[in-house]
């Protein structure tokens, strides 16, 4: 089991009120799954992703990542987990604008302390996997939206994470490049990569193998396709 949560809750203080974003989520994800988390805005799917992506910690409940209890780890241990176990792909790509594609892909390995020669070989390899060998010295402004997202996927994959998180990965793309990116996810999944896609688009969710629908902070449905 890669992910196991029990009664996961997260509340926020908004002014004098306490808002419960997720209200007790029990979720299990096995290695090699291709999962889509769907739900309308405000359903709590982003909060859930933040917690299982170790960007945030739950107010209560337990979260095991690779059988390790994560919610009691400190800031730096969480940073280490984000670095090694989790790869993020965001809607707006989040590439460093002044760095080349290669430098963007190198960044997680710099935080991991990987030796620069080895890091460069690995970065070039993943860029080759996403089909950007000839574009790796270009900056984000010289790349199309689809290419930028592929750089982001290469960056997410370079430290060989346990889970690849994609938060509305096709939200800023046209339908053709959307197909390319989803195709890439399928390929990665076929190679054994665990992928969790957060989306509100039904056709994206339908390309995964399991759909979890969140509503009002709780799992409403859990469907295997």
């Amino acid at each position: 089991m890669i992910i196991k949560t029990t009664e996961l809750k997260r509340s926020f203080e908004v002014g004098s009120e306490t808002v419960e974003a997720i209200k007790g989520i029990n979720l299990e994800v096995k290695a090699g799954e291709f999962l889509a988390i769907t739900g309308p805005s405000g359903s709590g799917k982003t909060t859930l992703m933040n917690i299982i992506g170790c960007l945030d910690t739950p107010t209560s409940g337990e979260y095991f990542l690779n059988n390790k209890l994560v919610n009691e780890l400190n800031e730096n241990e969480l940073a280490g987990i984000r670095n090694k176990e989790i790869g993020f792909v965001f809607q707006s790509f989040h590439l460093l604008a002044k760095n080349s594609a290669l430098d963007n892909v190198l960044l997680p390995m710099k935080y991991a302390g990987t030796n620069i020669d080895e890091a460069t070989i690995r970065a070039k390899h993943v860029l080759d996997q996403v089909g950007l060998t000839d574009r790796m010295n270009h900056g984000p402004t010289e790349l199309s939206g689809g290419q930028q997202q592929r750089v982001a996927i290469a960056r997410a994959m370079v430290n060989k994470p346990s889970i690849l998180f994609a938060d509305e990965p096709t939200g800023n793309l046209d339908s053709k490049t959307e197909g390319e990116v989803m195709g890439l996810f399928k390929e990665l999944n076929e190679d054994g990569q665990t992928i969790i896609v957060i989306t509100h688009e039904e056709n994206i969710a339908n390309q995964s193998k399991r759909i979890i629908n969140i509503k009002d902070g709780l799992i409403e449905s859990d469907t295997n396709i």
Binding site: N50, G53, L55, D56, E75, N76, A79, G80, R82, N83, K84, F88, F90, H94, L96, K98, N99, L107, P108, K110, Y111, A112, G113, T114, N115, I116, A119, R155, N159
Partner: protein, 402 residues
């Protein structure tokens, strides 16, 4: 690798906001430039002073007219005259060189050139005491002096002041205060001593000067040259006894002349320069601190602007200290770059001053290292708070920051 990444990120951030970075580090630039220029000028001036003291060859005591006070009434300066100098010269107990001087500015004409220049009347030994050397011709001697001959030796820059060449002046007549004098010699270039420039002076025999040009037996000062192994206090006592007797000063009355040691001047001047340098350096230090506040301000802006970037870096695994390092390095780099620019400007100012005043140009290496280190410390000190702020940002919220 992380440090290198921080450095690269800092350079790229500073470059992409180059005008903002420049304005931010302006106070650092000005502060460093001021420190380098002031300390450099101070030490160059001191070196010039030391060189001029060395030029005097051994030690020179300086006897000058003093105040004549009777009770509370000051009766002006009692002059020293040639006879006082002669009295000292006659005293053979000590091995000293007595060199009285009279210097005044007078009109000097040659052809169409007409300049107002310093004329110095000296004994022939003056050239030896100062170590001045001839370029061409000869120096005046005791016969010239006793004969009140109308002869003149020129400093090396005088020919060009008179808009001609040295060769055209030797053995020619020039007019000093309307009377013609024969140019018998031209000196080699001596260089400024920081007090006066011997290259821009005309030298005539003492008695010639006293009787023909200035019309006074009074001298400005009497230099007493002694070798370094002589006892200064003893010499001073002898000078005092001779002059008191000559001036008829009774017991209990004050001297009407002053005896000073050049090295005392030097000490005083060194002290004054030191205090002045310290003062300016302190003001420049304040400027550096003010600059640091500017850097902190702009770093806070930078942290806010780059909230999303910080969120992303954290999502990719940047630890608290990695983010801290990135922003501290940027603040330090900003200050060091400012410091280096200031260093160049300060060195430029120093070079201009040294050239202008003919001082030896010496780089104040200590001040240079010191001010760059201080700039870096300022960057570190004022960069820590913004960097902490950046490191504390919550990754989940920063990623969504608009």
């Amino acid at each position: 690798m992380l440090f290198k990444e921080s450095l690269i990120s800092a350079i790229s951030s500073i470059r992409s906001n180059s005008i903002r970075s420049f304005l931010t580090s302006l106070a650092i630039i000005i502060g460093t430039a001021a420190v380098i220029a002031v300390i450099g000028i101070g030490s160059s001036a001191e070196k010039a002073l030391e060189a001029s003291i060395d030029d005097l060859g051994g030690r020179t005591l300086y006897v000058a007219p003093g105040q004549n006070r009777r009770g509370a009434v000051t009766k002006g300066l009692i002059p020293l005259d040639i006879k006082d100098a002669e009295a000292l010269a006659k005293y053979k107990e000590h091995d000293w060189e007595i060199s009285p001087t009279i210097t005044r500015n007078r009109q000097v004409k040659f052809g169409n050139a007409n300049i107002n220049q310093r004329i110095g009347a000296y004994l022939p030994i003056h050239f030896g005491v100062r170590g001045y050397e001839l370029e061409s011709g000869r120096l005046f001697d005791e016969d010239d002096n006793l004969g009140r001959k109308r002869v003149v030796v020129l400093g090396s820059k005088i020919p060009s002041e008179l808009k001609t060449m040295a060769g055209n002046l030797l053995n020619k007549e020039i007019l000093i205060a309307g009377t013609s004098y024969k140019v018998i010699g031209i000196l080699k270039e001596e260089g400024s001593t920081g007090w006066q420039n011997p290259d821009e002076e005309l030298y005539i025999p003492l008695l010639t000067g006293s009787q023909r040009v200035f019309g006074t037996p009074n001298v400005d000062s009497i230099n007493v040259g002694i070798s370094n192994d002589q006892n200064v206090d003893e010499i001073m006592m002898s000078i005092e006894q001779i002059l008191r007797a000559k001036h008829d000063i009774g017991p209990g009355q004050d001297n009407d002349f002053r005896i000073s040691d050049y090295s005392q001047f030097a000490d005083l001047r060194r002290q004054a320069t030191g205090i002045f340098t310290l003062l300016i350096a302190a003001i420049a230090g304040i400027s550096l601190v003010v600059g640091g506040i500017g850097v902190m301000n702009i770093m806070l802006v930078s942290v806010t602007e780059r909230t999303r970037e910080i969120g992303l870096r954290k999502a990719l695994g940047a630890t608290h200290s990695a983010i801290m390092l990135q922003f501290v390095v940027e603040a330090i780099l900003l200050c060091i770059i400012g410091g280096l620019i200031g260093l160049l400007i300060g060195t430029g100012i120093l070079w201009i001053c040294a050239t202008l005043f003919d001082w030896p140009f010496a780089l104040p290496i200590g001040a240079m290292i010191g001010s760059i280190t201080f700039s870096a410390m300022v960057g570190l000190f004022f960069g820590i708070w913004p960097a902490k702020k950046a490191a504390k940002l919550d990754p989940a919220t920063s990623l969504r920051y608009e």
